[in-house]
């Protein structure tokens, strides 16, 4: 049964149904089948964090799951943060304001890691922030601006619509 199998799942509140080969990675499914290319792919072995998405609300590596395993589950990707490009999610706005990105390759994975983290830790310390991001590699920023952006994001999220 290496032939295609049907997957039905929900991504950013919308349901999709596709037939895919079992070997198709969830990361490639999002990018190539659903055209949700905001989820990036760096290493394909779980190290870089670029492909982090929310699976039933928890951050996971999309490159370490098969698309067929997502049958019946709910995913959130960076595209789900806002549906209006003119109005960024507070987390995105903070990264913009604090220069939390340069090339942006790592950013989607970092935002999806932080979304549940900031919900659980609305006032994180710098150490907690660095620990939370230990599974996300950034080759550009040196992390300083990312940490600053997370602090700013925590402020924005505590006082929405600032």
């Amino acid at each position: 049964m290496t032939e295609r199998q049907r997957v039905t799942l929900e991504v950013n509140g919308r349901s999709y149904e596709r037939e895919v080969e079992p070997r198709l990675l969830l990361s490639d499914f999002l990018r190539h089948e659903l055209d949700l290319t905001g989820t990036h792919v760096g290493c394909e072995h779980g190290v870089c964090g670029a492909c982090t998405v929310l699976f039933d609300g928890e951050p996971i590596r999309a490159c370490l799951m098969l698309a067929v395993q997502a049958e019946g589950h709910q995913l959130e990707t960076v595209e789900g943060l806002t549906d209006d490009p003119e109005k960024l999610h507070p987390l995105q706005q903070a990264f913009w304001d604090a220069h939390g990105l340069q090339c942006g390759f790592c950013t989607a994975g970092i935002l999806m890691t932080l979304l549940p983290f900031l919900k659980e830790n609305p006032e994180p310390t710098e150490e907690e922030i660095r620990l939370a991001l230990s599974g996300n590699l950034c080759r550009c920023t040196g992390y300083q601006h990312i940490v600053a952006a997370v602090k700013l994001a925590a402020d924005y999220l505590r006082e929405p619509a600032a």
Partner: protein, 295 residues
């Protein structure tokens, strides 16, 4: 890289999974959290014909008190669940301390306790914890089940006593005696990376404050979790003084462990690290055993 073509089965019960495993034999691989297996598939280091996914089976994940007053953990329980479970913090403080050092939260959200134990990476934390605490594993096949001590389970590099038709289903940790202290200490180049060196220490004190039981087990120190039994037995009957701790650490790390060199560290450096970490682990295990609770 991408996985080679493979078939995928998602049985909805343990019996169905065991039947599928028996049918496909060596051609099948169990898919648990996928956090070690999928990288191997992506690199095509593993090319099984069939993946048998345990994730849809709802009753393989639990954390509860065992009949003997210790802890019972279902093999498919996510590492992150175990890390944050209050009963684990209370009954198995060593496991609680080791888990945050396993990879990153995103990996622990998927990775399972059983998967890490079955994968048997000598650099992994959980096999060391299981051996240190004297855990037992329940292995099930289509034809029956058996219990095996963690100590006997690990055969060599990524090789265990698991037979191709068996699934690890349950992990049982014994109840710690009173006045027992545990410590897990490791050094990794970056938090979440596999550690260059690491050690688990458990000591029990008697009423007079003398050490009545001690265990030392190392990761990244050989092909399997490496128990330094002679060094640990040197500590029994003594008062865990700084000198006796130093002597045990010296013995364990020069005579009993067998680290190999890699691009990050030479053998001499790994032995040195292990010695320093052993002293720290034993000192904190002793301090924790001194408290009234089980450390």
């Amino acid at each position: 890289m991408k996985p080679a073509p493979v078939s995928y089965e998602a049985p909805d019960s343990l019996d169905a999974a065991l039947a599928a495993l028996q049918e496909h034999g060596f051609d099948a691989k169990i898919l648990a959290g996928g956090q070690s297996l999928v990288p191997l598939l992506n690199f095509r280091l593993a090319q099984p014909g069939v993946l048998i996914d345990l994730n849809p089976i709802s009753d393989l994940a639990w954390v509860r008190e065992s009949a003997a007053g210790g802890l019972s953990i279902g093999a498919m329980t996510r590492q992150r669940k175990v890390e944050t479970h209050p009963l684990v913090a209370e009954r198995a403080p060593l496991l609680h301390e080791a888990l945050p050092q396993v990879a990153h939260p995103q990996i622990r959200n998927r990775g399972t306790v059983g998967g890490s134990l079955a994968h048997a990476d000598p650099a992994a934390e959980l096999p060391v914890v299981a051996v240190t605490l004297g855990a037992r594993f329940r292995l099930q096949s289509a034809t029956g089940e058996r219990w095996i001590d963690a100590r006997d389970f690990y055969v060599s590099l990524m090789t265990t006593e698991l037979q191709p038709d068996e699934i690890l289903v349950e992990i049982e940790l014994p109840l710690l005696p009173p006045r027992t202290g545990c410590a897990f200490v490791e050094l990794a180049r970056r938090h979440g990376d596999y550690a260059t060196s690491g050690v688990a220490a458990v000591v029990t004190l008697d009423d007079a404050g003398q050490c009545s039981q001690a265990r030392l087990v190392y990761l990244s120190a050989g092909d399997t979790p490496m128990a330094a039994d002679r060094a640990a037995s040197q500590l029994v009957g003594g008062d865990l003084s700084a000198e006796s701790i130093r002597a045990a650490a010296e013995h364990a790390t020069t005579e009993e462990i067998e680290p190999t060199a890699d691009i990050h560290a030479s053998v001499a450096y790994k032995r040195h690290l292990a010695r320093v970490l052993t002293e720290r682990a034993l000192a904190s295990a002793k301090a924790r055993a001194g408290g009234s609770a089980g450390g």
